[in-house]
């Protein structure tokens, strides 16, 4: 039964007026077929292929071109992108602005990508910042934050956050968060990750309170909460430090669940439950293993069954609550 059948059926038993029926029908038939997403995906792949190809080409011919020429070329491309964006964009506003066009978003992104390459190349070849390699991500991320706010671009905001994290020395992209962080290096990485998470949340709340780009809050909180959870878990998985990290971790889980209810976000509820369950199960299993008997195995299995039943019950109840509220 498609929309049309349903509408006809409802019209036939007088559930909707013929006026509403006509509205539904005209909305259904007049809807345009939008290729926006598909075309942008193609554009994205094209830009990626083109820039990779260009990169390899330059690399192979580095002797005949010379570093300076390449750096200038990259700088010129980046500058051209930013000039285009400044000329095309609407004046700054604290509110959400609609993008001036699909191409605009990509040119801004391309400008940002080339800016990082430019700075990185400059530092790698001529060491303009001396031994301060970390100034490259710092300067880039400051520029990205400015660009994200000025041009109202969530993609650039994500890049700004991850680049800033790279400045501190941690990887927080979805894949990098698990793969590229060497948690065994001691607590310093964990402390800076947790601190950055809290800073991001504080900044986003402070800005949201002043009504500056309120729609950015979600991106900040999303990055920050994943980061906090992963770094707290990493701390739990290390020996020692329980007295501090166990309460912090469960306080975090509780806070995110509470926030999820007040924001009616099932997504945050789910990630809090999943991370929380991993942490809790780790602690339970670790303690059971120390008994090392058959009883511990049974207890562990019963723990999984009992706790999962509890969580399923909680999920069903809260999905009703989030929907009903």
């Amino acid at each position: 039964m498609n929309e049309k059948d349903i509408a006809s059926k409802l019209l036939a038993d007088n559930s909707i007026s013929s006026e509403s029926f006509n509205k539904i029908e005209s909305a259904r038939t007049s809807t345009l077929f939008s290729l926006s997403f598909e075309l942008r995906a193609v554009l994205y792949c094209g830009v990626l292929l083109l820039s990779s190809g260009l990169g390899v080409l330059i690399y192979k011919n580095i002797d005949s071109i010379g570093h300076m020429a390449i750096i200038l070329f990259i700088a010129a491309v980046s500058a051209a992108c930013f000039v285009y964006c400044i000329r095309k964009s609407l004046p700054y506003s604290n509110l959400k602005m609609n993008s001036p066009g699909i191409l605009f978003d990509y040119i801004l992104l391309f400008g940002c990508l080339t800016f990082v390459s430019f700075l990185g190349y400059l530092q790698y070849q001529y060491s303009v910042f001396g031994t301060h390699n970390d100034w490259v991500p710092l300067i880039s991320s400051l520029l990205f934050f400015a660009a994200a706010y000025y041009f109202d671009h969530l993609g650039v905001l994500s890049i700004a956050i991850t680049t800033f994290a790279a400045y501190i020395g941690i990887a927080i992209t979805p894949l990098g968060l698990i793969k590229n962080n060497d948690f065994s290096r001691g607590y310093s990485l964990i402390y800076s990750g947790i601190a950055l998470g809290f800073v991001l949340i504080a900044v986003s709340w402070a800005l949201a309170r002043r009504n500056i780009k309120k729609h950015f809050t979600y991106t900040y909180v999303n990055f920050a909460s994943h980061m906090l959870f992963v770094f707290c878990l990493a701390a739990l998985f290390k020996d020692g430090g329980y007295i501090f990290f166990v309460p912090l971790f469960f306080a975090l889980v509780a806070t995110v669940i509470w926030q999820a209810f007040s924001e009616k976000s099932f997504y945050f509820l789910l990630i809090a439950i999943l991370y929380g369950y991993i942490g809790l199960s780790y602690l339970v299993i670790k303690n059971l293993i120390s008994f090392s008997s058959d009883g511990a195995l049974f207890t562990g299995l019963f723990y999984f069954i009992g706790s999962s039943i509890g969580i399923i019950y909680f999920l069903i109840k809260s999905s009703k609550r989030i929907k009903a509220a």
């Binding site: 830009v47 190349y121 890049i159 099932f266 299995l301 999905s319």
Partner: protein, 401 residues
């Protein structure tokens, strides 16, 4: 045949449509309330988040319970394991049915997890039984072993999966069943010897096309409305196998492994020209047909298959250095996308390049993907001068689909 209450399902879809219309302001509040009161359903809509959560935790429960079960009743040899799997599977199935009958769950994550677990457990039991039957002793005391092919196992599993897919109107199981059937089909054709090997690609094309057209036609049939997702899945799977059956790389790899020969440099597979053309032209036809029919699935599949086609031919025949190929294809893609975006700014034939509501969620995903792209850039500055900042694996670009 279907486990769910049909009136309940009908009212469920009425309610869903009405909620969407009310949100868009197409029907009045009174009308919406009236519809809600009149079309009562016991099934509740659930978001994807709840589905994932319930699915994961149900799987945890079933695995732990199976662990306990095996600990309590130490299975005795293969037959014992098979028997316990069978019992577990049947139990899971009964609980799944009970959740639908008593608690009125409709695709809630719990039911799906129980059902899939039941099928896997029973499937394992069946495979062990078949394997057991194929070994034994002859009358004279010698050991015999009759090896059954994959198709033989699948032939026993398929009816079970088909029945479950129909009863629970489950799209994923439909996909699994289709996969089983097309593999069985290929093995049956190959039984015909060299003639079978010759016609295999064409037979698969015909089979897939038949499945696609039948599913497409049946989708409009109102009596089959509860299985619309299953038919949609068949359409998708049919289109995919229709292309793969004639893809140059697939045909070449399969013909090499089935005939047990290697193709020397300078030689090529039979009818190579036809398969080259097929690899490139069929995706283009998908895109063209998709645009004509305003069928998003065809367009997207076509775009992905063009890329797959180019890559699979390039794998065997490299006519230019990689960087030139990268640049040329990049320029081609950018040009096509740019020109189409400009051309379609004004809607033509009802097609536009301007975003609609459905794009908003996709944007959220692609914004995350961007961050993956840049991450590596500052960490190792310009050591391979990647102007785009990322390696050309593409930093999750494909996850947009």
């Amino acid at each position: 045949m279907i486990i769910y209450n049909k009136t309940g399902l009908d009212n469920f879809s009425v309610g869903k449509a009405a909620a969407a219309w009310f949100k868009r302001g197409l029907i009045s509040n009174d009308e919406y309330k009236g519809i809600e009161a009149k079309y009562i359903t016991e099934y509740k809509p659930r978001g994807i988040g709840a589905w994932i959560g319930l699915f994961i935790f149900t799987v945890i429960i079933v695995s732990s319970a199976s662990g306990l079960f095996f600990l309590f009743f130490h299975p005795d040899g293969e037959t014992g394991i098979a028997f316990e799997c069978l019992v577990l599977g049947v139990l899971c199935y009964i609980v799944a049915e009970r959740f639908v009958w008593v608690s009125h769950h409709y695709k809630s994550g719990i039911v799906d997890a129980l059902l899939y677990n039941a099928l896997v457990a029973v499937g394992i039991a069946i495979c062990i039984f078949i394997n057991k039957r194929s070994t034994g002793y002859n009358d004279d005391g010698t050991c015999y072993y009759s090896e059954h092919g994959t198709a033989f196992y699948l032939a026993f599993l398929t009816p079970m999966v088909v029945a479950a897919a129909l009863r629970f109107a489950d799209a994923f199981l439909t996909l699994v069943a289709y996969g089983f059937i097309i593999v069985i089909n290929a093995f049956v054709v190959l039984k015909m010897g060299s003639f079978g090997q010759m016609i295999l690609p064409f037979e698969c094309m015909l089979f897939s096309a038949a499945v696609y057209y039948t599913a497409k036609k049946r989708k409009a049939n109102i009596a089959l409305r509860y299985w619309r997702h299953c038919l949609g899945m068949l359409e998708f799977a049919g289109l995919v196998t229709l292309y793969l059956a004639g893809n140059y790389m697939v045909v070449r790899v399969l013909s090499e492994s089935l005939l047990g020969t290697t193709i020397e440099p300078g030689e090529d597979i039979h009818l190579a020209f036809f398969f080259y053309a097929y690899t490139i032209l069929v995706p283009l036809a998908y895109v063209a047909l998709g645009l004509k029919r305003k069928d998003r699935m065809l367009v997207r599949l076509g775009v992905i298959m063009i890329a797959a086609g180019v890559l699979s031919i390039k794998y065997y025949h490299s006519i230019m250095p990689p960087e030139t190929a990268l640049m040329l294809s990049g320029i081609a893609l950018v040009a096509v996308a740019w020109l189409s975006i400009r051309y379609l700014k004004v809607p033509r034939n009802g097609i536009t390049s301007e975003p609609d509501d459905a794009n908003a969620r996709m944007d959220a995903i692609s914004n995350i993907a961007f961050s993956e792209l840049v991450q590596q850039a500052p960490a190792k500055p310009a050591n391979d001068v990647n102007f785009g900042g990322g390696s050309f694996g593409g930093g999750g670009a494909t996850s947009d689909y």
